[in-house]
């Protein structure tokens, strides 16, 4: 008897009709002889409604109270889904995170799961029930309600799958899988049957927001087979596995991009030890996350230093950098918020040389100037002018033949 964890997001349970459709899907899976745990999010719009109420009540809502407030959204969905299951003759029981002892730390609104007591879950599954769990929430050691941060229901699902050693954790969402790139940019984008956890992490952090990153890390750590698939249409979705696929010989799995970054350069910095921390220290203290960092020798032994930040932080970072420039006796600050980052991601590049060169040549052939380059084990990222985004993505998609099914090796 296989054990499955299904997770349904806010749009998938956004109305009673959709909750009933979810109930049908879950019942079918149970009728095939599987033990089923279902994790649900709040009905779409509900969390935002509650957060708005909180901000009306308190200018900066207390985080403990915020958790007590917004955790009700998932509790409502779990009870309604359990009712909808019973309505079609499928025995079911709903639980809050606290009731199934999802124990977390006490960092309200972004708590981390410490442990799950699987006894109640197992007993309920054995008695034939579908177990419906309110996602996104837990309790701390003092019995306070905590939440796991936005998208935390994915993490709940993966954590329960890990605790129960489930056969598969299926994340139902409004997309039908992970694509080689964004189909809105490249219509030839193809759904991947499989992707590795590492690739998924790189894809997600680069802007292909399908799953909450933390849940993917969690799944990788505990070796939970994770599948992303659509609530609204049939299909096998994309399986995210720990094992590197031996079946697919693709060099790269996908092309990710990020339009949310802006670039800052400080030129003519006297090249002394500790310069990097003198520049990035004040930026970090202002709680600004830095993504790519490049340091190059420029003229006269002075250094040019470039980094990217989120566009929301661009103005704040620029103002800070102007002060730093003066303090260090550097030459000037150059800033640009019309850039994008484009990345190719794939575990295949570990064992294949020449992939970086193919990328750079492809972009050069299209007349696209590369402003920054950063590489990791399984990804290469470049910064280019924003206007080239679509051109760059499509050219790379074609160059790496991502529209074609990978051959069997």
């Amino acid at each position: 008897m296989a054990v499955y964890v299904y997770k349904f997001g806010g749009t998938s349970v956004g109305s009673i009709e959709r909750i009933k459709a979810v109930a049908e899907r879950v019942k079918n899976a149970r009728d095939q002889g599987n033990q089923m745990i279902v994790v649900v999010s709040a009905m779409s719009g509900e969390t935002n409604r509650l957060i708005a109420l909180a901000h009306d009540a308190q200018s900066e809502p207390d985080t403990r109270e915020m958790d007590a407030l917004i955790s009700t959204g998932e509790q409502v969905t779990s009870a309604l889904l359990s009712m909808a299951l019973r309505e079609i003759g499928c025995p079911a029981c709903s639980y809050t995170g606290g009731q199934v002892r999802i124990l977390t730390d006490s960092v309200h609104t972004k708590a981390r799961i410490r442990s799950i007591d699987d006894k109640r879950l197992r007993a309920d599954l054995e008695s034939g029930n579908v177990v419906v769990v309110a996602g996104f929430q837990g309790i701390d050691e003092h019995g306070n309600i905590t939440t796991l941060g936005r998208g935390g229901s994915d993490t709940t699902a993966v954590a329960i799958a890990a605790a129960l050693k489930a056969d598969e954790c299926c994340i139902y969402t409004d997309v039908d899988g992970v694509y080689t790139t964004d189909p809105r940019i490249e219509p030839k984008a193809r759904r991947l049957d499989k992707i590795t956890f590492e690739e998924m992490l790189e894809m997600a952090s680069l802007g292909s927001k399908v799953l909450q990153i933390r849940s993917v890390e969690f799944a990788g750590k505990y070796n939970v087979a994770l599948r992303v698939l659509s609530s609204f249409k049939e299909g096998k979705g994309t399986l995210i596995t720990y094992e590197e696929s031996q079946m697919e010989s693709a060099l790269i799995s996908g092309i990710a991009f990020n339009r949310d970054e802006a670039k800052l350069t400080i030129t003519g910095v006297p090249d002394l030890p500790g310069v990097a921390s003198k520049i990035l220290g004040p930026i970090a203290e202002a709680n600004i996350d830095v993504d790519m960092i490049i340091q190059n020798i420029g003229e006269d032994g002075a250094t040019n230093f470039t980094f990217t930040v989120h566009r929301n932080d661009f103005a704040k970072a620029k103002a800070l950098l102007d002060t730093i420039c003066e303090k260090l006796g550097a030459k000037k600050v150059i800033s640009d918020d019309t850039i994008v980052k484009v990345s190719i991601v794939g575990v295949g590049m570990r064992s294949h040389a020449g992939i970086a060169n193919t990328m750079f040549k492809t972009l050069a052939d299209e007349g696209i100037n590369i402003q920054m380059i950063a590489t990791s084990e399984i990804k290469i990222s470049v910064v280019v002018a924003e206007k080239y985004l679509e051109l760059a993505v499509r050219a790379l998609h074609a160059a790496f033949e991502l529209d074609k099914e990978p051959c069997e090796s």
Copy 2:
């Protein structure tokens, strides 16, 4: 340092503005050096909204799931009130029923409280917090969420007041106290400063719906000083006390009435042992509550048997009685759903003779025919034709001088 439990109903917390007004009131009481526990209902309309969702999900919603669903309404209010208190500089902490260990039996949707663990409440009060508790809910011994039935937040407040031996339990509502009768019927109706638990029980069960009966019973049993007062205007409200008031020499405290009853008579019943149970047995089996019962000897040694039921059950009861009439060989069934019950209530009648006579004479003087009479220790009820309701209430209100402040004895 006095300990107060304040309870606010749905209309009192029906919007963020009202929640803020409640916060001000609570803060004022705390600033005067009191330890404050606040019990809240769901925002008005919220419970009905959730119940409607439940009925969309399941034709006959499972009661365990119903409790998990509707208990969220109070949880939302408690978190919002706690935020509103913090916003005005008043430290506060919200709790669900389960978190403060309001342990109940497992009868979902109408559970009864078994015990309250007051440790967490006391510790929080000692640390200076206002403790905000979600009303209407608890958990059973298995950790399932339970609810106490409509109006159960009153019971929560009284139970907490009993557990903490609070100085007073103040029920804030949309009326400013208990009146000698309904002011819509008799504009001269006067707010009572005090009323005994027994009188309150008789008043409430007879249709003056101010407090949930169960909470009054509970308060009486545990000797909790209960006060009913208005959320929206200033005033001392009505204190409901265990001790019979020595200060007020009033013979009766108020006049209650009930328009929801209907009368059924079966005549010419052969007078044999067990006749009452042969008539009322099938009525009880059909889950119809019977209120007043009168059995009289009629002609020829046969018995006439009369009782009242809720008007909602009138048709059902009449159909049953027709069958019973045939089976018993009785004469006929007479039915009337245009009656009302009018009652005078007061602990004073225990020690004063002639009160019943004053009542009957007053009604006779107005030409009102009395159809049934029932008496208890502290109340006398009569059934009269519906058209006489207002006349009867006003005449009795005047006869017992309820519009006048009672003299000091």
